[in-house]
């Protein structure tokens, strides 16, 4: 029997429907994380690894949100602090501060960048129909970074556009 059919036969209730057996769900999966108290998500297939915060080497005259570069197994990977970039919360670096390393394969080459977030929370399943467009009500996160919103229980998760995140604005 097909695993999807099997999954459909198992009755699930409440929040388990969202979280419990996500690995056999048909929708896309997202890694969610916290910036201050807000929940954000990125496509899980882009996640290279999750590592703890370490002090990076500064890049001279780089924008404030670019914290520097680190050595990830011989690769030089830049570190972007999303809290500074989106102006959400206080950029504090504690033991729970984590870096999510994302890789996006572009047309010609792939680019790997680490993003500083407050904490990693969960893996989320979302069908395409569950993703709602974000209302343009302002806010600090520029619109082109947002792919949509997903309701999770009482809360809401903002799905970020990984490709937009990987673009590095030219130096000022």
């Amino acid at each position: 029997m097909d695993i999807q059919e099997l999954a459909a036969e198992i009755e699930v209730e409440g929040e388990y429907a969202m979280e419990g057996i996500d690995f056999i769900s048909s929708g896309e999966q997202f890694l969610t994380f916290l910036l201050a108290k807000e929940q954000y998500g990125v496509e899980i297939l882009c996640v290279e690894e999750i590592r703890s915060w370490e002090h990076p080497t500064k890049i001279p005259n780089a924008a404030g949100y670019i914290k520097g570069v680190i050595n990830m197994r011989g690769n030089i990977v830049p570190i972007v602090d999303l809290r500074i970039k989106f102006n959400i919360g206080e950029p504090q670096y504690t033991d729970t501060t984590v870096v999510i390393v994302l890789t996006v394969k572009g047309d010609s080459k792939s680019r790997t960048i680490g993003f500083v977030v407050d904490a990693v929370s969960d893996v989320l399943n979302a069908d395409e129909k569950e993703i709602k467009t974000a209302p343009s009500f302002g806010g600090f996160v520029p619109e082109h970074y947002v792919n949509g919103l997903v309701n999770v229980g009482e809360g809401v998760v903002t799905l970020l556009n990984v490709e937009a995140l990987q673009t590095i604005e030219p130096h000022q």
Binding site: T57, I59, P60, N61, N71, G74, N75, I76
Partner: protein, 703 residues
């Protein structure tokens, strides 16, 4: 037994190109009266012909055969070596290169040039023939090349002795060679074949009857059998001559096959046909040409056995050190710490040597890049009517292969410029009291971790005023600006700059020098110009030996570690208060002997915090790029070490003042400073702060 010959084609191509290069350089030597050269040219041509024959590249074989004939006459002294002949041979080398390149790229090559050259060769040979009147041989030479000669059908009976194969001869090769001469039909006679029990596998029991339709002469055919002549019964009879043009291949073959039927033993014949490979070959290659315009160049290097041997020795030592260390590690206690340190020292030594040897494998003598210049100068001096001698020095200086590949074109450009703009015509030279023959010298030598290539000409030098006027005219420099010689010469590398009065097809379009500079800079090198009017100019190209690794000085500023390429460092010093001068407000100059060196605090440049912002008693690392010295103010000097350059642009982007990053021993990342970039950035900064005051003054101060 059949071997897939196509696997050897790349090495054939490689060897052929090497052979062509050898032919070319020897031809140029020949011009200077080196009689030994003719032998090496002949050998090179001969092996190309042989190789091409093996692989069935008939175009090459046919053409090279002509060249070889001419060379043979020269070698035997039957023909004196005239200047004109050398020109034709040089042209022929070009044609052979075209042909072989076409094979490599699997394209059709432009045949007009080859036909032209073939005619020239034939003409030269024909003159020889009529004057020497040697009957058989020279007749063969011309007839084999001229398409309008008669075609004849030859019946060849080839009955080899039984031990033929034991002498290293292979009938199949003979038939292939025959197939090169024309259409052949080979019929094997198996009559003598004994019963299986009685067969001695090392004996040859077969004999053959061959029908050959060719324009070649009997002598040509006999030549094929030259090696087996004494070990076989050979009868060659001419059946009939067809005075047809070779286009009628089909009918000829038909005729040939019909003539076959007259042979009595036909019933028990195992019939085999070896077709001339020519027809199939060309169709194949033209098919492929559509899909694949240019084959990628195969990257391979020839490495001397000594280099490989030293590598193996080093690996051996490394293994010994490793086993020593692991033995030490199995039961380690603190008393053995001394042995551990010495073991680690040894490991360090081994790794370092291994690294150096591996790098050396990629090193090739610069003669690979220099080789093309004798020909280039030869051709250019013909074209421009100038008498020029080229001197090559330091050809054995070694350089990384990648660097070598990329430096070729800029060097060609510089040499072309030297011929076109540098060297004057003989008349002008004599009028100026110089020898009529101009000299261009290419010199390569190692200096520190760099290789320096100098292109020197004893021509008219650079007209400083003309350059300046042109720059003002083009709006690159403002009128009335006073510039140093170096700054003026640097203007030559501005885009769109050319002082050539007439645009020639050699140079003068003003594209090029800026590209030259950019190419050299992208290799991490730099170019300088020295020139004296009336005496000549020297272009000095400084290049790193290799691109992947650099020797660096680690410095600390605040909490950050930076790497300064060792090659750029002039000296490091502690500032003395009395030598610090402040000029034009906020510019700090440090007196270093006669020079006033501007002080650049790195913390300011990179917007970071430093331990000390005081210029007094600070550490200065004086670096130099583009002839400009600056003192970089740092907090501390750390170790010197070799670092592997990693690109920042892979995951991020280029950063001004930074040429890349590297990973230090503790796993952290350190930025490598881009000294020329920093100097330009500082210059820009200085200009911005000074624009409100006096623009020109600012340029004067920083420069």
């Amino acid at each position: 037994m059949s071997i897939d010959l196509s696997q050897f084609i790349p090495s054939f191509l490689e060897e052929s190109f090497e052979g062509l290069e050898l032919m070319e350089s020897s031809l140029l030597n020949l011009e200077q009266g080196d009689d030994e050269a003719i032998n090496s040219i002949f050998r090179a041509a001969h092996s190309i012909k042989g190789g091409a024959g093996t692989f069935g590249f008939n175009d090459v074989t046919v053409f090279t055969h002509l060249v070889e004939t001419l060379l043979d006459e020269m070698r035997d002294g039957r023909r004196s070596i005239e200047q004109n002949d050398v020109e034709i041979l040089l042209g022929s080398v070009d044609c052979m290169r075209l042909l072989i390149e076409a094979i490599r790229d699997e394209t059709d090559c432009d045949t007009t040039k080859i036909e032209e050259n073939t005619k020239l060769l034939e003409k030269t040979l024909a003159i020889e023939e009529s004057s020497a009147k040697t009957e058989g041989d020279s007749n063969a030479e011309t007839s084999s090349s001229e398409p309008n000669q008669g075609i004849s059908v030859w019946q060849i009976d080839f009955v080899p002795e039984h031990h033929l194969v034991q002498t290293g001869n292979d009938p199949l090769l003979i038939f292939s060679a025959l197939a090169e001469l024309g259409e052949i039909i080979v019929v094997a006679k198996t009559k003598e074949l004994p019963l299986l029990n009685d067969i001695d596998p090392e004996e040859l029991y077969l004999s053959w009857h061959i029908t050959l339709t060719t324009e070649s002469t009997e002598a040509d055919i006999k030549e094929v059998f030259e090696w087996v002549e004494d070990e076989c019964l050979l009868t060659i009879t001419q059946e009939k001559a067809i005075i047809d043009t070779p286009q009628d291949d089909v009918t000829q073959q038909d005729e040939a096959s019909t003539s076959n039927t007259t042979i009595p033993e036909q019933q028990d014949l195992a019939k085999s046909e070896i077709k001339s490979a020519k027809a199939t070959d060309t169709t194949q290659s033209s098919d492929k040409a559509v899909q694949k315009p240019k084959a990628e160049t195969v990257g391979s290097i020839r490495v001397g056995v000594d280099k490989v041997d030293s590598l193996i020795n080093l690996v051996g030592e490394l293994v010994i050190t490793q086993s020593m260390l692991s033995e030490l590690g199995t039961d380690f206690d603190i008393s053995k710490i001394e042995r551990l340190t010495s073991g680690l020292d040894q490991l360090l030594q081994n790794t370092k040597e291994l690294q150096e040897s591996v790098m050396r494998i990629r090193m090739l003598p610069i003669s690979f890049a220099f080789n093309r210049f004798p020909r280039l100068v030869h051709d250019l001096s013909k074209k421009t009517g100038k008498d020029i001698e080229l001197i090559l020095k330091g050809e054995q200086t070694e350089l990384d292969k990648t660097v070598m590949e990329q430096i070729g074109d800029p060097l060609v450009h510089l040499v072309r410029n030297a011929v076109d703009h540098g060297i004057e015509t003989s008349e002008v030279r004599i009028a100026n009291g110089k020898p009529a023959k101009g000299t261009i010298t290419l010199d390569a030598y190692h200096q520190g971790g760099n290789i320096v290539i100098e292109i020197n000409d004893d021509g008219g030098g650079i007209n400083r005023q003309a350059v300046l006027n042109k720059a003002i005219e083009k709006g690159i420099v403002e009128a009335g600006t006073s510039l140093t010689d170096n700054q003026v010469f640097d203007l030559l590398f501005e885009p769109g700059f050319s002082t050539a009065i007439e645009v020639s097809d050699i140079s003068g379009r003003g594209v090029g020098m800026d590209v030259v500079k950019r190419n050299i800079q992208s290799l991490g090198g730099r170019i300088q110009v020295q020139s004296e009017e009336g005496k000549g100019s020297t272009f000095k190209v400084n290049l790193p030996l290799t691109l992947a690794i650099l020797d660096g000085q680690l410095v600390r500023v605040g909490t950050e570690t930076y790497i300064i390429p060792l090659i750029t460092i002039v000296e490091s010093l502690q500032t003395q208060t009395e030598l610090i001068n402040r000029v034009s407000g906020d510019m700090v100059l440090y007196r270093l002997r006669e020079d006033n060196v501007p002080v650049l605090p790195i913390y300011k440049l990179f917007n970071i915090s430093a331990d000390s912002e005081d210029v007094e008693h600070a550490l200065l690392v004086v670096v130099e790029a583009d002839g400009q010295k600056v003192g970089l103010m740092v907090d501390d000097l750390l170790a010197q070490q070799q670092v592997v350059i990693k690109s920042l642009a892979d995951n991020y982007q280029q950063v001004e003042g930074i040429s890349g990053a590297t990973i230090l021993g503790d796993g952290s990342v350190a930025m490598i400073l881009d000294i020329p970039g920093i100097i330009t950035a500082a210059l820009k900064m200085a200009q911005q702060t000074h624009t409100t005051r006096n623009h020109q003054q600012a340029v004067g101060v920083i420069a």
